[in-house]
Symmetry: C2
Subunit: 235 residues, 2 copies
């Protein structure tokens, strides 16, 4: 009689945690986000309730979880990436706590590092970057040397994101990348100087991460030997 907030990872179904997969395989009800892979949904027991989040508002989701929890079911709320990183898992946890329902969090692999990794880009690298700044959209604050910048959901608004980074003092020539559908077989990567990124990435779509910083240039030294075996290291 617990609602488990479980991170599904960044896309590749192999990147769910061992604990998360075990919970999916034994749940009574699975409530899942649009970006969760079909393979993971199919891991739930045949007779488990499966509910696609899709059309529900955040309030409706909160209410649904409370209702399922009250019915005494083992509920897995499967969320893309990590529940507590731009995942609104905190809101769901608070709603459940308020209703007196037992809630547990099982962290997941966030796109923050996994998506750059899948493109051969380390988030930090000795002598190159030792700090990371992560945000959605624009307005990021002063840029500091040796910093990697990760922008969630930045593709829709890429010209404005780039403009805002330039205004924050990031050099126009800084290496930058957009990774679309990271860790999936359909993954696409575009690399360009920051000021040329909007044009270079104009054709990309889908969920994407923007990465800005000297670490992007490490890619040339890391990618050559990588095969696309896991769907993880495509070029």
């Amino acid at each position: 009689m617990t609602v488990w907030l479980v991170g599904a990872g960044p896309g590749d179904p192999g990147l769910i945690t061992a604990k998360g997969l075990e919970l999916v395989r034994s749940c009574d009800a699975l409530v899942y986000d649009r970006l969760v892979s079909r393979e993971l949904v199919d891991e739930a027991p045949e007779d488990a309730l499966r509910i696609a989040r899709e059309e529900l508002s955040q309030n409706e989701i909160d209410d649904l979880l409370v209702t399922l929890g009250r019915e005494g079911l083992e509920v897995v709320r499967l969320k893309g990436g990590d529940p507590f990183v731009f995942g609104r898992g905190g809101e769901e946890a608070i709603a459940l706590v308020k209703a007196g329902i037992d809630v547990q969090v099982v962290p997941g692999v966030s796109s923050i590092a996994a998506v750059p990794a899948a493109a051969g880009i380390p988030l930090t690298h000795r002598g190159v970057a030792d700090r990371v700044r992560i945000f959605t959209g624009h307005g990021s604050g002063e840029h500091v040397e040796g910093e990697t910048i990760v922008v969630f959901m930045g593709l829709q608004n890429l010209p404005r994101v780039v403009e805002s980074l330039l205004a924050d003092g990031v050099a126009p020539g800084t290496p930058a990348a957009v990774v679309s559908r990271g860790t999936l077989p359909e993954q696409e990567v575009v690399v360009a100087r920051l000021h040329e990124l909007p044009q270079a990435a104009a054709e990309l779509d889908g969920p994407a991460l923007v990465i800005v910083g000297e670490v992007v240039a490490m890619r040339e030294r890391i990618v050559p030997a990588l095969r696309n075996q896991l769907g993880l290291l495509a070029g």
Copy 2:
């Protein structure tokens, strides 16, 4: 004949990825860091080579991986957290690429979000924090409102870390936490106002994460219903 750079996750052995666990279970050689849990090391096949990283320098590790790879073994290099987040995985990847050895990266659950989550602290929360800054030690750059700050390896040097944050414009009264041995049964959490944190956390030791920002205060609304079932949500 591949060297796999695999993230072991933040501590709790259940937080390795399904793919990572599968690789550990079928490898010929396992090279693991000090902070990797015994349970995971024990998952390697009985006849697999097991090499504790412990006493080796980074150069020696790079050479060892190249040597094992050249012998045609399936090698798992199991690293705490995520290989590319303060993990020096990039250096190992580059050494292997240079030597012409096939290398693959399997991202892991980084402490960045999992350790705060294990203490009931969401890294981001709607209306509270929509950006995150991560660094080791001190000297972080200008503070921006609505930002969560995560400091890796900040406990040894906590007074200086806090001083540097105050100098960057973080308010002395900002909620802050230190989470020691996060996600493990021995987990300890100390919460205090930022300026009082060094004193409050003086007794803590072990690998620890420092978290600063209004999200720390969400903890009071998230923790009450949490049991320590996974070793994940201890108070």
